[in-house]
């Protein structure tokens, strides 16, 4: 399975969009991981008097209204946003794969029941649920936010996985495994999951972009990541009164959101193209 994933990434690499997307993401991830100690403290003493200053040699992205270095805050916020998105997608993936595999493999009433449940869940807008939950749960801790995002985002993945499993079950090599005497575990683990991994991976990559936007939006509404933890959405929220007087305070966090989602989508597109057997 690892071999085939490596193969997939190698093919995606050949697409220029995939290359740029992957590189950009890599840079951002590295920055987010390694840079914070090197930069100024994002939660430095707020200095209301000095206020926002435009980009300069000392502050590449300028400072915000409390005179905190924006570059440091963007990078630090990036660390938070990327981890939240990454972990939330991981939760979604696990849940979606598990449900999809069980539904597709078991079939019958189990499949019916699970899919009706998914249908019902898909009918409820995710944003609504999140808003409701977060309004009620003020000052939600980070781990809870991740779980909430993850558990509201696995439905589409489960249908995708189920579809793949149904397709694969009819393939001769899966029938051969049954003929050899393979039980459910072995069939799922060695034959179904590895061959369903491709489309699922693409969906996951695109899902990361979704979650980043969601989280930024929620933070912008004041519901997601709470200050003083920096987050891109929160930074844009704080910058609202200063859109005209100090546009850089909103510009850089906003640009960071756009750039990340774009990079993720490019990578997802390239992975999808790499999956298509005709492009091999």
């Amino acid at each position: 399975m690892i071999g085939s994933l490596r193969d997939l990434f190698r093919r995606a690499w050949r697409h220029p969009s995939g290359r740029w997307g992957a590189l950009a993401l890599l840079v951002m991830a590295l920055l987010a991981a390694a840079a914070p100690p090197l930069l100024q403290d994002p939660a430095a003493m707020p200095d209301v008097v000095a206020g926002a200053t435009p980009p300069s040699a000392g502050h590449l992205f300028g400072t915000d209204q409390l005179n905190r270095d924006i570059l440091a805050r963007v990078v630090s916020g990036g660390r938070i946003s990327l981890s939240v998105a990454g972990l939330a997608v991981l939760v979604s993936l696990t849940l979606g794969c598990a449900v999809g595999l069980v539904a597709g493999y078991a079939g019958g009433w189990v499949d019916g029941a699970l899919m009706r449940m998914v249908d019902a869940a898909l009918a409820i807008p995710r944003l609504f649920v999140l808003l409701l939950l977060l309004v009620v749960w003020e000052r939600i801790p980070l781990w809870a936010l991740i779980v909430v995002l993850g558990t509201t985002g696995w439905f589409a993945t489960s249908r995708l996985v189920r579809g793949e499993v149904l397709r694969l079950r009819g393939e001769p090599f899966v029938v051969a495994a049954t003929g050899l005497g393979a039980g459910a575990w072995r069939t799922i683990a060695r034959h179904l999951l590895p061959n369903a991994a491709g489309p699922v991976l693409v969906a996951a990559t695109l899902g990361v972009g979704d979650v980043i936007l969601l989280e930024a939006g929620l933070s912008f509404l004041g519901l997601g990541i709470q200050p003083p933890t920096p987050s891109w959405g929160g930074m844009v929220l704080d910058a609202r009164p200063f859109l005209v007087s100090a546009p850089w305070t909103a510009l850089f966090p906003g640009a960071a959101i756009v750039a990340t989602v774009l990079a993720v989508n490019l990578l997802g597109d390239a992975l999808q193209a790499a999956l298509d057997p005709r492009s091999a």
Partner: protein
């Protein structure tokens, strides 16, 4: 007279299609009462065209798809009544070789891993001895042991088919269902695989149910041949009898339709008119009646289903099998 290795009795397979948004509900009659015996080391060719039910017969015998009715006894054991553990044991002894070399192997598994899987499932060997056995199997089917690390897409169609055969042999079966094993292969590769199957049969005393649509291919390996039409066996006899002195008109038509690479061949060309009946609407009488060219075809053919009965050493399902110039040979 030793008991046959495999006994199939009145096998029936029907399945429902349609319903809700997928079209009108209908029942497809895929297999309509098939019975035959197979002895150890023997090859029975099962010949028919698409819609004849031949592939379904193979799969239901192996319990890869549930039968609607009928019984199968393998080495005295009732296959359909077997519990999970007993079925596992049975699976070791009956295996399947597939038609399509491209989809019969897991694209994410190496050839060696695919062949080893059966050994792992049934714990036939300690872990460290498996690679050696796999290498031995590769050699037996004519593959280089170095190819164990290759993925299916790195192998040719013929090589993939050999991997599929090695995979089936790994668990030590006594009976192989070969479902169109050479139809998707080029002429030269087809010859290699057919020769291989013949050798393996002799060396390991395997019984084959050789399913194919090409009578010439079946003739290479089969001792006896059963011809299927519309879910039923319409003729069953020794290979030479079926090929040279067919009793059923469909068999004659099938034989004449096989393109023989001999322009001097003066076999009478029988071109069937019309289409076979729809599998969802079996006619009351003989299913071949709509296309039959037998000079003695009559009303009885349309209303009464002919039973598979003995005629000499063979079995045939035709009301008028005793008479008529059926043989395509001049």
């Amino acid at each position: 007279m030793t008991a046959p290795l495999l006994e199939v009795r009145d096998l029936v397979k029907r399945y429902a299609t349609g319903g809700l948004a997928r079209g009108p509900r209908a029942v497809v009659h895929a297999v309509n009462g098939v019975s035959f015996d197979l002895a150890a080391g023997e090859t029975l060719g099962l010949v028919g065209e698409s819609g004849s039910g031949k592939s379904t017969v193979g799969r239901t015998i192996l319990r890869l798809t549930p039968a609607t009715a009928g019984a199968v006894r393998f080495d005295g054991v009732d296959v359909f009544a077997a519990g999970a553990a007993e079925l596992r044991g049975l699976r070791r002894r009956m295996q399947l070789v597939f038609q399509d070399p491209y989809s019969s192997l897991n694209p994410r598994m190496t050839a060696g891993a695919a062949v080893a899987e059966g050994l792992e499932i049934h714990r036939l060997l300690p872990r460290q001895e498996i690679p050696a056995r796999v290498a031995g199997l590769f050699e037996e089917v004519g593959l280089e042991p170095a190819h164990t690390a290759r993925y299916p897409h790195e192998l040719s169609g013929g090589q993939r088919q050999r991997v599929g055969i090695a995979r089936a042999l790994a668990v030590g079966p006594a009976f192989l269902v070969c479902d169109e094993p050479v139809s998707a292969l080029d002429v030269s590769v087809q010859a290699q695989v057919l020769n291989l199957l013949g050798e393996l049969q002799r060396r390991r005393r395997l019984a084959f149910l050789f399913i194919a649509h090409d009578l010439a291919v079946v003739r290479q390996l089969a001792h006896r041949v059963a011809v299927m039409y519309f879910g039923r066996i319409v003729e069953l006899g020794t290979t030479e009898q079926v090929v040279h002195r067919p009793l059923h008109p469909y068999t004659a038509a099938l034989l004449s339709a096989v393109p023989e690479p001999d322009p001097a061949s003066r076999r009478r060309r029988i071109v069937l008119s019309g289409e076979p009946p729809r599998p969802t609407a079996p006619p009351p009488g003989c299913p071949f009646a709509s296309r039959c060219f037998h000079p003695k075809k009559d009303e009885r053919c349309r209303t009464e289903l002919p039973a598979l009965r003995g005629l000499g050493d063979a079995l045939v399902a035709c009301h008028h099998a005793e008479t008529g110039p059926l043989t395509p040979d001049p």
